[in-house]
Symmetry: C2
Subunit: 662 residues, 2 copies
Amino acid sequence: MKSDSGTGCQRVVIENISPEVDGGRFPVKRIAGDIVDVEAVIYADGHDTLLARLRYRHEKDRAWREAPLQSLSNDRWRGSFTAARMGKYYFSITAWVDRFETWRKDLRKRYDTGQMDLSLQFITGAGLIEKTLPKASRPDVSKIKNYLDMLNSEQVTRKKKVRLALSEVVRRLMAKYSERRFAISSPELAITVDRSKAGFSAWYEMFPRSASPEPGRHGTFRDVEARLPYVAGMGFDVLYLPPIHPIGNTRRKGKNNAVTARRGDPGTPWAIGSREGGFKAIHPGLGTLEDFRHLLAAAGDHGLEIALDIAFQCSPDHPYVQKHPGWFLRRPDGTVQFAENPPKKYQDIYPLNFESEDWRGLWEELKGVILYWAGQGVRIFRVDNPHTKPFCFWEWIIGEVKREYPDVILLAEAFTRPVVMYRLAKLGFTQSYTYFTWRNHKRDLTEYLVELTQTGVKDFFRPNFWPNTPDILHEYLQKGGRPAFMARLVLAATLCSNYGIYGPAFELLENTPREPGSEEYLNSEKYELKLWDIDRPDSLRDFIASVNRARRQNPALQRNLNLWFNFTSNDNLLCYSKHTADLSNIILVVVSLGPQGPQSGTVNVPLNAWGLNTDVTYQVHDLLSDARYNWTGEWNPVTLDPEVCPAHVFHIVDSAGLKRKD
Amino acid sequence: MKSDSGTGCQRVVIENISPEVDGGRFPVKRIAGDIVDVEAVIYADGHDTLLARLRYRHEKDRAWREAPLQSLSNDRWRGSFTAARMGKYYFSITAWVDRFETWRKDLRKRYDTGQMDLSLQFITGAGLIEKTLPKASRPDVSKIKNYLDMLNSEQVTRKKKVRLALSEVVRRLMAKYSERRFAISSPELAITVDRSKAGFSAWYEMFPRSASPEPGRHGTFRDVEARLPYVAGMGFDVLYLPPIHPIGNTRRKGKNNAVTARRGDPGTPWAIGSREGGFKAIHPGLGTLEDFRHLLAAAGDHGLEIALDIAFQCSPDHPYVQKHPGWFLRRPDGTVQFAENPPKKYQDIYPLNFESEDWRGLWEELKGVILYWAGQGVRIFRVDNPHTKPFCFWEWIIGEVKREYPDVILLAEAFTRPVVMYRLAKLGFTQSYTYFTWRNHKRDLTEYLVELTQTGVKDFFRPNFWPNTPDILHEYLQKGGRPAFMARLVLAATLCSNYGIYGPAFELLENTPREPGSEEYLNSEKYELKLWDIDRPDSLRDFIASVNRARRQNPALQRNLNLWFNFTSNDNLLCYSKHTADLSNIILVVVSLGPQGPQSGTVNVPLNAWGLNTDVTYQVHDLLSDARYNWTGEWNPVTLDPEVCPAHVFHIVDSAGLKRKD
């Protein structure tokens, strides 16, 4: 005679709680300061009235706080609380049948339908009120006794008694002491609350070894420091460095991924480890640990945070290979198994065997690596290929790291099947690489963004859009040239509050593939030092700076869930808007996705849906060109000449003044 | 170092299993003989190959059976099993990383990309094969040794070894002994398997006390027996009788719900219990228990099953009131609280207090009531107002009853908020009343049916459509007269595989409300005996018989999830179709929902979507009028004159012959 819907007197059902991920298996993600809106379906059998409360606490707090839940239509209830601090929050819902509220509702109904004799009702109500006396505080006791006297008095009129019973003051007092003996509580749901950069960031990736201004000299952290004003000047706030560790010599790759390196070839930074050390060591050519710490501080002075690369794989020379031979798979001939995806071979890289007998030792060691760099002051990590390591490893290690450093941000570099990418985000990665690079047409972009921002995905997956990476030079850039670079930059930076570029290849319009059909760069920086002429006159640095300025100055561009696609009359024109909840900031973006040549069309400004006047003239200000246009109503013409600029980022001037007054 | 996604070597994730209800909290519903299609998303980190099995068993079986799961796109897997018997089934999914399959895939890739030296691969493969020897059966051991010899032999060519390794026979043998040490199993999900009548039934409700052919004489079970050929002749297979128990005298209601009964007024059958007994007793005016059992048998001879009414509420004269005073709520003046929904009062009915101290005793007693009637041979129950009793009570009692009688069918008579109606279905009710009665327009009907047949609702909620009940005479029937009755009958009977009518009121077109705006019948049979002239020439009995005949002869009409709404050019014409999976039976229904007068329009027959030829002429046969039409292609004209008949139920003749041969 027991079931999990309660026994005997436990009659309330709480279901469909949102936000939640996989029935509470994983935490929801939010940013510190966010208001968390909680909804649930709450009901019981029969017609009794329910009360419900939202309970929540930060992981560091012992006590639960309570917020009210309001009843909406169709048994839905809603409440909210502010997730003020970083770290984990927990929340649950408690609901119960409330005798006094039920009585009040019944009394009101009888009174409204004209029932004259309410004496039995008053006796019942007095009985319910009386029951609260033993729990009530001293000042409340006297209030309660006073109400009781009135309800029981023969001198007080029926009308006055009803007015008293239905009063707000009595309602509040009774709710305070409501009998919760048979309350039902939902399971606790978790929220991971990150700092604001988790939700709004602009990344710049560069190879420090190519930061040298002198041809042929290996760049150093000092050179990177010299580059900081350049990167900060473009408006970025995260500077991500590929692995900074010693690089293996054994089977080192040569230029353009040649199987044999030539003398002086630097090898790929992802072949980690040599006699000089492994994941905690610094490549001698880049400098010392002290240099690195100096760079961290200098970057901070420029408003830049350094992000490091976590690539858990070893060169054949990594110290682990000798010290922990059990952490590597061996082939029948006794050699260590190198990384391979036939016909591709990565002879210079040994994967770690997460299924070794000593997996516990390996996990602990790797946790030590992240904690080591966090200890140096690094708080952002880009994690290489997380999808080739077990899911449970990531859930564990991220939990351990964030318990100590809740401000750590981890970006998952997984380009794999959708369910795997989403799983990694659920397990705890703060941000994730996406398929954006391969979404180049209107329908593809629209469908993908709707999936990311309007489905359950939005509660756990924070996209980070990259038009290029050292591994991915998309055909769109190869063939589209400068206008394509500009369009993809605007799309990444305005569709997605987190985005990044791999530079200076990006701003210098580097777009030659290793061979036709390949997404690899010719003479890729992955295998050689590069000398970049960042002062080239055709550089996109000023354009990038204007895009990042628009992002910083417009709060509408600092979120994703406010994205709204707008109709255009030309399928080569993509139009979308983002706005703040109060409509004080509205940005409307139009991007030409089309082939060469100017594109014209009419775009829709959904003024009516936003509750704005549709019959007025207003000014739109293009934050890229600084041009201003006077528009009227919902439909307005746009022409984009990609040779000039393939995008408008319009700010609607004085949008608050357009609000309908009805 | 542990999480529920596995530790160390447990790498597989199984999620999004379907069918399931609320994450497995409630069983899914199916009919005995149904093929249960199971899908899930199954994946692991990295690129290893997985194997997965569907495990299932009937509750009476100890051993689990296994069925294969096939990998589809995007990490989805699918498998199926037949739920052959009534009762509960359980199923789960087991999946694991398979070393041998991974090796085979890798070998194939290397071979296909032209790698010449595969000797290390053969050694690895032989090692995996060898590991199965200790587990293998004797005949398999010799096969395995044979394969090993071939793989290890220097005489066998590379090509032959590859062919052997990739052969189906080796794949099967290795799958049989696959290492499942680190397999992950999903939680077990339950399925309630009912008999076929749970999914396909035609109900006829009648008051036995009005079955008498003589004016003023109380009808008896014998009179009901005499009415059986009439009911069976119309094609019904369930005969549902309102409560057959003694009716209370205290505060008995008079005609038209008068507060005071006049001498001879029979009272409402839902005011249960008198000195003659309660829920297990029979109203003396209807006959004896022996008469009832005779009726059960006679009904069976006519292909009819008797359904009884479970209304757990008491008249003031019910024996419980004296024997178990604690089962009733008392008012402050000491009287028992009668049922009330201000301003409505049901002075003749005392609700049971499910929150009494002795709720356990009450639950046990009520369970005894259902088991008593099941013991008499009754297997179908219509349950009155289940939403006013606790959810946990229903989950418990239905579980208890179905454990003993898995063939019991319970119809929930809850007309309340959507979440409550759905909750009751989840808790175990076999069929449910619906909002059909209040869905009269094209959009309302379409939206509601899409909700019932194309959302998660379909897995737990079996709708039963009623155009009328003794409590509900909808305005549509009040104002629409005969054509409205015909249209609503066709809609109920063809939209929904389970449907019912309250007769003879329905076939005799009874449509006078107690007062304008009321859904109550004037001179409602709930409060008085009625004499029905079932032989009236305007009776719909023959029309009803033709509709039920169409249902019985066409398997397409015996299911709901095959419903498909088709476009029509006239919003007063609703068109929909149902077909069997093999398209051997296709029914296309057109119903006029409009106001008086003929309605014409073009209807779409989605031949192309069904994979049928669109450029041929075919015959449609109206199963109601027996008319035949030759149609061509997808668009054909229809005219319905409601004065003749407001509906076509077309059978597409020789639909299998229209299949495209491509």
